[in-house]
Amino acid sequence: MGIIKDRKGFRVIEYLLTFLVIISLNFALPRMMPGDPFLHYSGEVDEVVAFYSREQIQYFREYYGLDRPLLEQYTTYLKELARGDLGFSYYYKDNVNSIILRRLPWTMFLVISAMALSIALGIILGSYSAWRRNKWQDNTLYTVLIVFSEIPAFLVGLALLIWLGAGLGLFPLAGAVTHFARYDSVWEKMLDILHHAALPILTLTLARTGGIYLLVRNSLGTVLTKDYMRTARAKGLKEFRIRYLHALRNALMPLFTRIAIQLGALIGGAILAENVFSYPGIGVLMRSAVVVRDYPLIQGIFLVLAIGVMAANMLADLAYKYIDPRTRPAASSNQDTIKLEVKMQKGET
């Protein structure tokens, strides 16, 4: 039992440590960037516009506490963070929490839709390929998907934008909704949102499907050669049962960790895609925050994204343990065995 507790404890400490490292990096990184929040106030990179006078800059630095020693700034940051306060944006003159909360749903909408689509597509195409291993259907799918997953997401995005958006005019070029539009119904509004999100989601989905497809294809290919598949066939089970209850369930095990790991990359992709499509999510916000060196906003965005990725990893860990009985290792399988043993003793006596 001691070992079990230790393991769990170790996991918690591991997550806490990761979190602390993230916070510290979060604090240090913006300050390591060349430039100054007030110097670059309204300037693009390389075109420094001195908006404020020297005195004014001095005043702002003092006002926002940037003239204090770094250690003091750090402890203040931690204290505020502990209260759940991400700070006050220099540029937007607003609470970072509320800025992020306004933008986050858009990004989450993109990421979650793209993830769901790419998982669904990856599983369907991957298993289709595995059942037809080395036939022409498999070969074609394999080539096409590998090509797509190797092209960077922003390039695919640009191509789509130019072709479907600008060229054919099928999709809007920017934004998440039509500005100043009046909707007659909720449906119309939803349709408008989907219309705007279609290209970014398509871009992200295209970039992500390849990896999942490959994983499912290979994993299912391995599962098909396992002894228990032969057992299932020998039992005369229906094809549906053999394919989905016996084979696919085993093949999808590795997918959970893979999705969690990919989430980081997916968020990175979303940031790029948002900028390509001028989609008002956290990615566009981050870009402008970096340009103007808005320390609190940068820190806030980084933190939210990091927590998101970490939470996904943690969830995958837990989900995997739930789904694969073999990886409830020491913990629950031991408990099961103990329970079984207790039952057995009772049965015997």
């Binding site: 002894d227 228990y228 032969r230 057992t231 066939r233 039992k235 005369g236 095990m253 065995t337």
Partner: protein
Amino acid sequence: MMDVKNKEDILLNVNELSVQYKTDNTTITALDKISFSIKNRENLGIIGESGSGKTTLAMSLMGLIGSPHKVYGKINVTGKDLMSLAEKDKKKLRWKTIAMVFQNSMDVLNPVMKVGHQIVEPLKETEGLSEREAFLEAERLLKLVGLEKYWKDSFPHQLSGGMRQRVLLAMAMSCSPRLLILDEPTSSLDAVTRKSLFEMVRDLQEKIGFSMLVISHDLSAMKDLTDKMMVLYGGEILERGLTREIIEEPAHIYTRGLINSSVQAFPYKDLWGIPGEAQTEVKGCVFASRCTQALEGCSEKKPYLEQVFTNREVACHRGGIVDLIRARGISKSYKVQNTIIPAVKDVILRVRHGETVALVGRSGSGKSTLAHILAGFLQPDKGDVVFDNQAVKGNWPACKEGGIQLILQDPFSSLSHRFTVEDALLEPLKVNKIGSLEERIARIKAALKDVQLPADDLFLKRHCSSLSGGQRQRIAIARGLVMKPKLLLADEITSMLDVSTQANLLRLLKGLQNSSGFAMVFITHDLHLARKIAERIIVLHHGEITEEGSSSYVTEESCCCHTKELMEAGL
């Protein structure tokens, strides 16, 4: 009328079944025209080394060999022609008519499904059981194989090997099949678990009344579970008969090799595997390349199963293991000062190719006399000896290659002191005018290597008088080996040696026998030694054979007083 009844009783009939595995550019024949049938409630065993096609046979019976691999021939189960059925109808047959206990491996059960669910799955699907009914059925089946009912909620990785085997059995029982295939049922089990599994399978058979096809390389599984047995090698059946009889007296060289490799058959003997590797895709007999009695024609033409005696069929051009020497009604007496002393009385004896027979008896029991008669050095008063289908008159078998060689008890007197090692070894070749000088030298060097002595010139020039007893005895053996004998008569060859030298020499001799395949008559007064090296033991007392049988039978189940006396005296 009888015929019709017989036909109805047949559950499975396999006719000229062939299976070919196709890979990109090769075709491997895994089974080659196998025919057999199983009656209701009959248990048939299939034994063979790994790669002999055992599992392929099981897979083809379940209809599980799909494209691109090819299956030819006919499989008839309960009157249905399996090969002509559509996949959908094959599915109906699987598990309900033929179920299988798969070879126990980590992966044989689905790792993410509860055991109970996997057990009732096929039944649930066909019978449309409710959750509740399936649940009770799983508990019933687990109880049937002696597992507590709560195991149904466990996952495969939580079971021990023995428990997994029981779960596999319960799973196979779920649809009460007519034919149960057991694939290596004992491979991962300890002796105790194995025994209880056998008992359980037999009990289940009493209750449910299925037939069994047991696939194994384990002789004890064959012995305990089957009545009839087939020996499979390279995808072909080499021998077929009643299990007990085959184990007691194998008729094919390969079968004998398998049995000699088995701990269960010979608990006291050293184990000797069959040298060489199995070959497939050959024109002639599949075993020819490893067979020690193969003739030239064997690798040209395929042998077919033919009856050699009652209840036994063998696929061998030579009709199975040939009798190398047969002696009938041998009697011999010596005349000492007007008294006639009978040395050997009416002895009947047979030595088969490649076999080791121990001739055991006290001193003066007529062992050496018999050996000399067999070799043709002594004329018997009555009776005749036939060696390799030719009557032994005079010492011709000793003069030719592939004949009989005699090695004597005392190496100090059997090798002349004045001879060098070279002289001693060259002598038989010189006398019999075999080969040129170079060939002779090459041959004696090979023989010296065989007996693990140095083959350099220095050693060849040494005088026999300068060698130790063990070395001399090895020289004597080498002298026999240069003639490439088919039968070696070893007359108390270790009695003058210390135990360590004796052990080395015996291992050496068995090793040589295993690789070159000569038969051996090992004459000794030590029954325990005989048990260690011989397959068959003949006990001689006052010139008469008092007992004869397989070495485990003679040493364990004997009811002959004299044998028991010898046994106890040796201990």
